[in-house]
């Protein structure tokens, strides 16, 4: 794990992805690597504690006492404008798309536009030789599919065959439809109304030609994720619910042929210290509670470790604030070693 270049921190919601991505970044920087952390989840307090003030546009240098750490928080709305500018075949096309009434709704609502933006930004960093190490915190997606399928979905949305069908001109699609495009159009018109269909049709037409760029990106993203320079770190906490989530995540990775480098079981409750025989009743009650938390978790941690096709790290619950450089750095070192 130490020798990889790109670290992707994924897993179910609320397990500590953002915290551990920051930890990993700090630890790597302190080891002398020029590191960049990309976070998508503006957990404000954490960002502030790291001396982080603004949004993406510019990278910010974080003071971690030695080493070089850069951080950036993705501003997905504006980031997408940049994506469109990049893939537009002409300045006129870019302007038409950005000004289209459906564009803003698309960015806001199109499933996976945050995930897409994260993947896109990630590629930029990978191609940038200035960074030795890149750490990416993944968006709080409900399922892994959203993360990995975002580029494909985006490409599908802009698929030329969809556009051609919309315009009623796709010969291939005419063959596939027994009833023909006209009937289909009639049905859609009934549901959506002609005005919307026209608007969507014109939007798709404006996007024409950009699909190739998105499709290429999709392949590049997959290639990067499969590379032996990439470490996919799955974070979870030990419980039945999260074990189910992790199993789904693993399946998804397998389907996409993306190797899992490490499973991190976070927030484990420690076994309480050996208690003296004459412990007061109140304390005793807490002891028994803590012990049974530990035992319950341990059973799931063992099961999850057993099911994992990779090395596992266990991190214990930390008491007190977890947003200062020293504490985060300690977690990061535990992860790496």
């Amino acid at each position: 794990m130490k020798h990889k270049r790109l670290y992707l921190v994924g897993g179910p919601g609320g397990v500590g992805k953002t915290t551990l991505a920051a930890s990993l970044g700090i630890a790597l920087a302190q080891q002398g690597h020029r590191t960049v952390v990309l976070t998508v989840d503006p957990a404000k307090r954490l960002a502030q504690a790291l001396g982080f003030t603004g949004f993406d546009s510019e990278l910010q240098k974080i003071d971690v006492g030695g080493g070089e750490l850069w951080a950036t928080m993705l501003d997905t709305d504006h980031y997408f404008d940049r994506v469109i500018s990049k893939f537009a075949t002409s300045p006129e096309q870019r302007d038409r798309v950005l000004a289209h009434p459906l564009y803003k709704t698309m960015v806001e609502n199109l499933g996976g536009s945050h995930e897409y933006a994260a993947m896109e930004r990630l590629l930029e960093f990978v191609k940038d030789p200035r960074y030795d190490k890149i750490v990416v915190d993944t968006p709080p997606s409900d399922n892994a599919a959203e993360l990995f399928e975002a580029p494909q979905r985006m490409a599908d949305f802009m698929d030329n065959s969809v556009l051609k069908w919309f315009q009623g001109g796709g010969k291939l699609y005419l063959q596939l439809f027994k009833a023909g495009t006209k009937v289909a159009m009639g049905a859609l018109k009934l549901i959506f109304g002609a005005e919307f269909l026209d608007s969507l049709g014109s939007f798709l037409a404006d996007l024409e030609g950009m699909q190739a760029g998105f499709q290429k990106r999709n392949l590049e993203v997959l290639e990067t994720l499969r590379s032996d320079q990439t470490s996919f770190v799955m974070v979870s906490v030990p419980s039945e619910a999260r074990a189910e989530d992790c199993a789904r995540f693993r399946e998804m990775l397998k389907e996409k042929n993306i190797p899992l480098d490490r499973l991190v079981l976070n927030r484990l409750e420690p076994l309480p210290p050996e208690a003296p025989m004459d412990l007061p009743a109140g304390a005793k009650r807490l002891w028994e509670y803590q012990k049974s938390l530990h035992t319950q978790q341990k059973a799931w941690a063992d099961a999850m470790e057993g099911a994992a096709p990779c090395e596992t790290r266990r991190l214990y619950e930390k008491h007190g604030p977890l947003h200062d450089v020293a504490n985060l750095s300690e977690l990061g070192r535990l992860l790496l070693n």
């Binding site: 919601g13 609320g14 709704t105 009833a179 009937v183 049905a187 008491h319």
Partner: protein, 282 residues
């Protein structure tokens, strides 16, 4: 009115919050508690078509409705165009799949429409809705507003209006779920503000889930009697308990709170049952 009594008079309750705070646990436990009182309930969740109900829910005997965008859209389209054959031969293809998944806000709005339909049909008296986590939940509640701008007439306009009324109805409650920790609480405050700006929801309760149990608090004299590692541990837990309490006292969410302890279990069934017992006793 008690938490359970309030829940029993609602037709639908949405549970929202950050990932991993306990939305599912609370939705399921509230369902279980209502069901024990003889109410006909179902849990609604977001799930790809064809996936079976969560085993723990089956085990607890709670009906589960897993909503999937494409299936739901097909149902919706069929109510409008009536002929299944027409749908299959014309609409159920790659183009439409892409269209439904990608068209602005449609996938969320379709699910919202389905929830309206379920409430309106009344087969289940109370629906407990286990929302996806914050970001997606916001998009979900926002979706009818986007559609309203695009669709001024026709079926979608009509159904969007129904959904908007549902969101603001008194029969429907919106609960927030958070942990008693600093970052999740802050996120919950932000979420409340953003949701409030969308619709005039009937907000219900703020659930502080997985709190340290009350016996984690110690009197100073008790701590003085401990020593060594044991003392350090007890002090750390006790301090955290006090911090949780002061955070909760100043939560600023403007809602009645439900404080749920963290139960010493890591399994689905046991945590849902313990939570249901706890909610019933409130």
């Amino acid at each position: 009115m008690s938490y359970l009594d309030d829940s029993l008079r609602r037709k639908a309750i949405f549970f929202t919050g950050k990932g991993g705070v306990g939305k599912s646990t609370l939705a399921w436990a509230t369902a279980l508690a209502c069901q024990r009182r003889g109410r006909k309930v179902a849990v609604v969740g977001w799930q790809p078509a064809g996936k079976p109900a969560p085993p723990a829910l089956v085990d607890l005997g709670i009906p589960w409705l897993g909503l999937d965008t494409l299936t739901t859209f097909k149902e919706y389209a069929l109510t409008l165009i009536k002929f299944e054959r027409l749908y299959d031969s014309v609409l159920d293809n790659r183009v439409l799949r892409t269209f439904v998944l990608a068209a602005p806000g449609l996938s969320d709005a379709v699910i919202a429409g389905k929830i309206w339909e379920l409430v309106n049909r009344g087969e289940y008296e109370t629906l407990l809705i286990d929302m996806p986590s914050s970001g997606h939940a916001k998009a979900f509640f926002k979706s009818p507003l986007g559609l309203k701008k695009i669709f001024k007439m026709g079926f979608i306009a009509r159904d969007t209006e129904r959904v908007l009324n549902l969101f603001q109805s008194n029969d429907v409650r919106l609960d927030l779920v958070t942990l008693p920790e600093e970052l999740p609480l802050r996120e919950c405050q932000l979420l409340k503000g953003e949701l409030q700006a969308l619709h005039s929801f009937s907000f219900g309760y703020a659930h502080f889930n997985q709190c340290l149990p009350n016996f984690a608090a110690f009197e100073p004299t008790e701590l003085d009697r401990l020593e060594g590692e044991v003392e350090r541990f007890a002090r750390a837990v006790s301090t955290e308990h006090a911090e949780q309490a002061s955070r909760m006292a100043a939560h600023g969410l403007g809602l009645p709170t439900v404080k749920i302890p963290r139960f010493a279990t890591a399994g689905w069934k046991a945590s849902v049952q313990s939570t249901a017992d706890f909610l019933e006793a409130l």
